[in-house]
């Protein structure tokens, strides 16, 4: 039996300190107080002093409460029995069914050897032209949706998840409103996907430390499934809550903040999670779709900024549409040369002309006379927004490309597009 400690020296924020020996860094402990038992994790060792982060929060913990060290770091079950189940951030069942303790794996495991990764090669079709044509989603990609509060980002996330062809969906919810949690659960259920899903949910009213665990738990399970040759899609919403939880804890720990109060290792911490996205050489894959809400629609805010440097692109959701500017899929080049030979040229040309349209729009709103070229651009921009950008459009890639040529031909002469002559000969509608 492991030793039990009864004297808590300090309680500050969610961190308690005890004097103890033979404790491993990052090991778990059980803290039993009058409010019940909570897990806690060792976050600092200094001589005989052990600092622990209490998952359920330190409220109600008394200096005389019991601390028992478990002798191992945080673990989660990776058994197939997880499918169809809902858990909290610390791995407790949320659905009233028994807990699962077989096939335990440590969370936040080591990173994949880059030489065991392969170049992603499978496009994930979504039926959304702004994704399929302009920023193709690729299996094993890590991609966030950048958005402001109030946009239908959770709906978009759910729609992509439902249309994507994957074996298993792992959902990680951080700081979710309870109704958002129910929305996801119901959507999965209605589409018959719940039986191949696992949910780790931290709602806004749960203890903040549990929020920190959600991505690690979800990704550890995803990794186990992927090694078992499954194609896994991980949904993480909202990663900004995760970063804010990290900030909260770093400040309590008196760490020197780097930028707007966020800890200096925000980049590494986010990267450690997102980098779990992988296409294994001779095993399955993990694709990560996340939501990052941007405070004040400011992309230079530390959370979206650091995220953008880590992920393989991002979808900007603004005014209910995926913005062509700023949205990016870094992996699209891996797949969009194998779809149809006009895919890339349609992608580049339409965006470039849309940028010109935006400029013309600016000129128009300032009251300048419109040249004949400007008129063409204005007509083009309207069509582009209605037939391509609108989120209600749900057509396969090939139809979307045909629609692109049609719009170009309706608005411009051949030479005005800047497209190579041989492609024009082949695809320009007669």
């Amino acid at each position: 039996m492991r030793k039990v400690y009864h004297r808590i020296l300090q309680i500050a924020g969610n961190v308690i300190t005890v004097e103890a020996d033979n404790v491993g860094y990052n090991d778990l402990a059980e803290v039993t107080s009058s409010r019940g038992t909570s897990l806690a994790q060792v976050i600092r060792l200094q001589d005989a002093i052990v600092s622990l982060q209490v998952f359920a929060g330190s409220r109600g913990v008394s200096t005389g409460d019991e601390v028992r060290f478990l002798g191992h770091p945080m673990r989660v079950s990776s058994s197939p029995n997880l499918l169809g189940r809902v858990f909290t951030g610390s791995g407790e069942p949320r659905d009233g069914r028994p807990s699962i303790v077989d096939d335990l794996v440590e969370i936040a495991g080591p990173s994949v050897n880059p030489s065991k990764r392969i170049i992603p090669r499978n496009m994930i079709r979504t039926g959304i032209p702004m994704i399929d044509v302009f920023n193709s989603l690729v299996e094993s990609q890590k991609l966030p949706i950048f958005s402001v509060a109030g946009e239908p980002y959770n709906q978009l996330l759910a729609r992509i998840a439902m249309q994507a062809e994957v074996d298993i969906i792992i959902f990680g919810g951080m700081g979710l409103k309870y109704d958002d949690y129910l929305f996801f659960k119901n959507t999965l259920d209605e589409q018959g996907a719940l039986s191949r899903s696992v949910m780790f949910v931290h709602t806004a009213s749960d203890p903040v430390v549990e929020c920190l665990l959600v991505p690690d738990m979800a990704l550890a399970v995803a990794e186990a499934y992927a090694l078992d040759d499954k194609r896994v899609l991980v949904l993480l919403t909202d990663m900004s809550n995760f970063a804010d939880a990290m900030k909260e804890i770093a400040i309590t720990m008196e760490q020197i903040p780097s930028n707007r109060g966020y800890p200096g290792d925000l980049y590494s911490k986010l990267a450690a999670r997102y980098e779990k996205a992988v296409d294994f050489d001779s095993a399955g894959s993990i694709t990560i779709l996340a939501v990052t809400t941007m405070p004040g629609d400011d992309v230079t805010h530390p959370i979206p900024d650091n995220t953008g440097y880590i992920t393989e692109g991002q979808f900007y959701l603004r005014n209910g549409r995926i913005e062509p500017f700023g949205s990016l899929s870094r992996l699209k080049q891996q797949v969009n040369d194998k779809t149809r030979e006009d895919h890339r040229i349609i992608m580049d040309t339409m965006i470039r002309l849309y940028a010109d349209f935006k400029e013309t729009l600016e000129k128009q709103s300032m009251g300048f006379q419109m040249s004949s070229w400007d008129d063409k651009l204005l007509a083009y921009g309207k069509k582009f927004e209605a037939q391509m950008m609108d989120l209600s459009v749900n057509i396969p890639l090939e139809e979307a490309l045909d629609a692109g040529w049609k719009i170009l031909a309706e608005c411009f002469d051949r030479t005005e597009t800047g497209i190579k002559t041989d492609l024009l000969d082949k695809f320009w509608p007669k």
Binding site: V112, P114, I256, Y267, A277, I310, L328, R352, T415
Partner: protein, 579 residues
């Protein structure tokens, strides 16, 4: 080494905070020496970074989960070093020079903690040809012989750490040797002796300076990127930086440079960036032909790969590992290009460590010594004259990932002070899909272009003027702009479209040789300097768009092919049309 020695150099953990370990030691420690933390079977590598009284702070290159107060520390008394010798080329290493492919064979999908392998193959035999003879007087860095390594002649040199002049006592006969075999014995004036092996070690944070002198970099390093070679050139032995917000195409540009730059050796340091990007290089380079040698690109490359999820302290070491390998090949008279992506991640690793050490933070919590470290790193580049009179070079290109894309931050500013060329990427240009998104007005280079400065001057003036007119048009509108001005604007757009922009993903347009650039630029200049007779702005726009179309087709045609020549004639005719 006896047990006494071991005990003398031991210590115990007294604190753990993230990847920083505090330990108590028995006798003496050296700043920056390597220490191992012993946990059961595992030995975790770390580096001493601060000494205070009887306690040291050690940054570990591994995850610290499960470490306990009281765990044993072994000090090695050696600085963090790399192995140098034949066989480095084509290798893929992590930041501490562990070979990743070999690790994968031994430990599978994941990077197992505390699992290290030798950087070089100690079993493989190399065909040694001696070049020094008994009695020769040699200095550190002088060759005693050579072995063929792929297409290169790999010099076997007197260890760089030896000081003064050494006499050759014995040289091995030509034949096959392993890297650990002694190929020469040398002695100094005082009677000290030393063995020369094919492999030697060198501490990564100290520059290799076994050469005669540093020279001024003058020749261009041709990158086959038009906007770089013509407008913002890089010199062989020079330095350049590529700052840009995310999504502006830093990595794509670095890939293009790694493929097309005309250097002998390319070393890619993927420092704290995405693993996926390295994988592309890892998987593609062995199959991509190097047009200059006929071999694959991998045959001239070394990849140092410490991606963002790998331990932070090793990230800090990785750029030094990379530059040390580059300096090693420079000693053989080769031109090496080091591409570091991204130096901001390296700076962030420094910041994380500085924070854990509770140092007084500088701007944006970066350590106060950041600038001098950046300067020290870039200063390791250079064109040098070796002891035998030949030259070798290290060119360093670093990307910078400024927070929020704002160049007024410590890493960008610290870098701009010390580099010779600045390729600033702009979000506006990348949003408008104008790639490479190097900003033609903000960027600069101190080096000489492949095109005469007067011609560049004309083009630059036009770009500046075109930009002014564009700004003006936003205020007064197209109708308020004079047709001549409008034509200048159209010409600047034309220059941008057909010359500055380049399609990396096209086999032909992706790489433009020096000769082709010079020829193309003259043609573009002919358009820019012509006074076209146009009737209206619409006419001007239409005419320039047609010209643009022809140039784009020309860009995509193989140089000197029939199509190429035919298009050139068509262009000449088109230019003459409105004269």
């Amino acid at each position: 080494m006896g047990d006494d020695m071991l005990d003398n150099n031991a210590g115990r953990i007294v604190g753990v905070n993230g990847n920083i370990i505090t330990a108590e030691f028995d006798t003496h420690v050296t700043q920056n020496e390597v220490a191992y933390i012993v946990v059961g079977e595992e030995r975790l590598k770390g580096e001493v970074i601060r000494v205070r009284g009887k306690r040291v702070d050690i940054q570990t290159f591994e995850d610290t989960v499960g470490l306990k107060v009281g765990d044993k520390i072994e000090f090695t008394d050696e600085l963090l070093s790399v192995e140098l010798g034949p066989g480095l080329l084509t290798m893929v290493y992590d930041g501490l020079q562990n070979p990743l492919n070999e690790l994968a064979e031994k430990s599978g999908f994941f990077l197992k903690r505390g699992f290290y392998l030798p950087a070089l193959n100690y079993e493989r035999k190399w065909e040694f040809t001696p070049s020094a003879a008994k009695g020769d007087s040699l200095k550190a860095g002088d060759a005693v012989g050579c072995v063929p390594e792929g297409i290169f002649t790999h010099r076997i040199m007197v260890p760089f750490s030896l000081k003064g002049s050494w006499k050759v006592v014995e040289v091995a006969a030509a034949g096959e040797y392993k890297i650990d075999d002694i190929v020469a014995k040398i002695a100094d004036e005082k009677g000290g002796t030393a063995d020369v092996k094919m492999v030697q070690t060198w501490p990564v944070k100290i520059p290799i300076t076994a050469y005669k002198e540093k020279l001024l970099p003058e020749d261009q390093l041709i990158t086959q990127q038009r906007i770089i070679d013509t407008f913002f050139p890089v010199a062989t032995g020079g330095t350049f930086c590529v700052p840009g917000p995310f999504g502006a195409g830093k990595t794509v540009l670095q890939h293009a440079l790694s493929q097309h730059a005309e250097a002998d050796i390319v070393i890619i340091a993927a420092c704290g960036e995405r693993a996926g990007e390295v994988v592309e290089i890892l998987r593609e380079f062995p199959h991509l032909p190097d047009p200059r040698t006929g071999k694959t690109l991998m045959d001239r490359s070394i990849i140092i790969c410490n991606t963002s999820s790998m331990p932070v302290a090793a990230r800090e070491a990785s750029v030094y590992t990379a530059v040390t390998l580059a300096e090693y090949y420079r000693q053989m008279g080769l031109n090496c290009l080091l591409l570091a992506d991204s130096t901001s991640r390296w700076a962030q690793a420094l910041r994380e460590m500085s924070g854990r050490l509770e140092e007084i933070p500088g701007e944006e919590a970066f350590p106060a010594y950041l600038e001098s470290l950046i300067a020290g790193f870039y200063e390791r580049a250079g064109l040098v004259k070796l002891n035998d009179g030949t030259t070798g070079s290290v060119t360093i290109g670093g990307t910078v990932s400024p927070a929020g894309g704002n160049f007024e931050e410590p890493v960008t500013q610290g870098t701009l002070k010390v580099v010779g060329a600045f390729h600033g990427l702009s979000r506006d240009r990348s949003n408008a899909r104008r790639f490479p998104a190097i900003h033609p007005l903000d960027s600069w280079s101190h080096y000489r272009s492949i095109v005469e400065p007067e011609k560049i001057g004309v083009a630059r003036q036009l770009l500046i003027r075109g930009n002014e007119i564009n700004q003006m048009m936003k205020v007064v509108g197209e109708e308020g702009t004079h047709t001549d001005d409008y034509m200048i604007y159209q010409k600047s757009e034309f220059l941008d479209y057909v010359y500055l922009q380049q399609n990396t993903f096209d086999d032909i347009d992706g790489a433009t040789s020096k000769e082709r650039q010079i020829r193309m630029f003259d043609k573009v200049l002919a358009v820019l300097e012509s006074k076209f007779k146009v009737e209206s702005k619409d006419d001007a726009r239409k005419y320039m768009q047609e010209l643009r179309q022809m140039f784009i087709d020309w860009n995509y045609s193989k140089m000197d092919s029939d199509e190429f020549n035919a298009l050139e004639k068509k262009i000449d005719a088109k230019i003459a049309e409105k004269l």
